[in-house]
Every structure is written in C-alpha cells, then in structure tokens.
Amino acid sequence: MATRKTSEPFWWLLFAAGGMVAALLVPVHLLVNGLAVPLGWTSISHARMLALAGHPLVKLYLFVLIALPLYHWAHRFRFVLEDLGLHGWRTPIAILCYGGAVAGTVATLWVLWGI
C-alpha cells in the first residue's frame, strides 16, 4: 500500500504544545487574572499591567499563552466533530477548525502589536 503524505504531525505538534500551555500556564492566569485581581486578593493596577504587557518578552509570552491553546482546541474540536459522525466532512471541518486557530493567531498578533 502506498503511503500518503500527511500534514498531521504539524498540527499534532501544535496541539501537543497547546495542551502543555493550556494545562500548565492557563490555570495560573485564571487564578491571577480571573480571580485574584478582580476579587481584590492582590492589587495590580491596570496601568502597571499594561506597561508589563508592552515589554517585548512579555508580548512573546502572551502570544504563546494565547495562540498555542487555540491549536489545542482546533485539533480536539475537529476530532470531536469527526467522532460524532461528521466523518464525511473532514476537509471542511479541518479548514474551519485550523482556520479559526490561524485567525485567532493573527488577531493575537494584531492586538499585541498595538500595545
């Protein structure tokens, strides 16, 4: 049987990297940015956070934090849809899911660029 070239390793690596970020970093930000700051457990002013986000290294960090989990979502969601029986729609589903993640990546770059 002839082997078919596949782009799966590329998407899988992004999925795997996104999973690591989602598992290790996202909970920290949920705690800090989602609970600690709004509930007043700690006080970081908006101006200070914005200044922090303006640093190139922090921008890079934010890019990784936001963009990679999008690919984790895209890969997983694509597989969920396929497993639910939409197997005949594989190509449009893949385009929609990964396209969404790419659009999110571009949007992230655009927002970070503007800070």
């Binding site: 049987m1 078919r4 690596l13 795997a16």
Partner: protein
C-alpha cells in the same frame, strides 16, 4: 442449584436465509459459575445446534470468543452470567466487522493489517545460530512486555469509533504490536514499520478516544502505544523539516 434461568438475546444471521441480522431469545439455566460462552455452548448443545460462533480455549488466551455483550466488547469466556442478572443479556457479533454468520465475523481486514505492521523481530543482519541467542536484560523486557500481551481478540477494534467510521485505520492492536517490536532491544525494524505507522491512516487517524485500552482484556494500553508513536512520528517529521538532507533519529 436452583432452577433459575436467564435469557440470552442472541443475534442470528444465516446468509441466503435471513435478509438481515435479528435477535433470537434463548432461556438458559442460570449457574453462578457460568460465563456467556457456557450459555452459548448450552444453546448449541441442547437447544439449537445451528448457532454459530467462534471459541477455543475458554480461558482468555486464544482471543477467539470476542463478542458484544450488552453492547460492550467482551471475551465471552470471561463474562460471567451473574454480572448481568437479571438479564436479558444481549449477545451480538463484534461491532465494526462484517458478519459472516450469527456471531461469526470476518477477520480478513485485521489479519491484513497485522501483517502490514510486520509484528516480528526484524534484524538488519541475522547472526548465525552458532553465535548464540540475542540477549535481553529484565529492564529491556519490561519496556515492551505489556504490549506483547495482546491476543489479537479484536475487542479494541470493536470499541474504536474511528475504526467504525474510517475502516482504513490501521487500528489499535496492530499499532500496539508494531510499537511492541519497535521497543524491543533485539529489533531493528523501526524504519520498515514507519511507512505504515506514519501514514494518514496509521497513528494519525486516532482521535484518542481511549476505548481500546478500556476494553482490552489483557491490560494492554494501545492508546498509549498510539500516542507515543505519534510523538516519535512527529519528531521524525520535525527532524526531516530541519534537516531535509536526512535528519532521522
């Protein structure tokens, strides 16, 4: 023993006779030490000799008696009637496979895939017998041992929704066995198995549902074999991108 009974709803299909598979009910004696296979043997011996199914060792070694019991892939020699009281117990042929007759499914697809992954020790060069055996330490054995417990019962294929939707998928048991030989310190066949493993219908078809590992009667973890093979495949892919002139592990 009491004269209690339990009902089995067994799928019947006789090609050329039945248009499609249909259930038939049989009442069998309930014995607390009976498994579903004992009940099927009772039906064949005492009630209806035309019932067809595969079995051999009745002790979880041969892997022939896999069927769907109440919708779950099971070795019927290890599925006790007492766990399904008061019944009825639905006994159907393994899901995702074509049915030949009654509870007998066609194994050709699995056998072909099994051969395709070359599940045997491959050496670049065989050493002569006079030089002795290929030695292995207990630690080297331990790395692949659990994957070598596979008995080819195909319960994992019946449990895999991906195989149901995309029958070209090489599938859990075949990949687990390929991985078993890839891990074997005596084996040198990784590159020969790679085209099958890294194919679009190889490890990449798996959506990590994980049911294969749940239903395995021998404690093999095919899902782990597939995910680890994905990591190996992705590493190969990355190296071939960075070093197109031959970056291979």
């Amino acid at each position: 023993m009491s004269d209690a009974t339990i009902t089995l709803e067994v799928t019947r299909y006789r090609p050329g006779h039945d248009r499609e598979p249909h259930p038939q009910s049989f009442e069998v004696p309930f014995q607390k030490d009976w498994v579903v296979l004992d009940a099927l043997n009772h039906i064949k011996d005492r009630i209806d000799g035309t019932l067809s199914y595969r079995w051999s060792c009745r002790m979880g070694v041969c892997g022939s008696c896999g069927m769907m019991v109440n919708g779950v892939p099971k070795l019927t020699c290890a599925a006790f009637l007492r766990d399904y009281r008061p019944g009825p117990i639905r006994v159907e042929p393994l899901a995702n496979f074509p049915v030949i007759r009654d509870l007998v499914i066609a194994l050709d697809d699995f056998m072909e895939k099994l051969r395709r992954v070359k599940p045997w020790i491959i050496r670049a060069e065989e050493k002569p017998v006079s030089e002795g055996e290929y030695r292995q330490t207990p630690a080297q054995l331990e790395t692949y041992k659990q994957f070598s417990m596979c008995i080819n019962c195909m319960l994992c294929y019946a449990a895999c929704p991906v195989y149901g939707l995309a029958p070209a998928f090489v599938g859990p048991a075949a990949i687990a066995l390929a991985y078993r030989y890839n891990l074997d310190s005596r084996d040198e066949g990784y590159r020969l198995r790679e085209p099958v493993m890294s194919d679009a219908v190889g490890v990449w078809e798996c959506t990590f549902v994980g049911e294969c590992s749940v239903v395995c009667p021998k404690g093999v973890d095919p899902a782990a074999a597939i995910q680890r093979s994905k990591l190996a495949g992705a590493t190969d892919w990355l190296l071939s991108m960075v070093m197109p002139w031959g970056g291979r592990r």
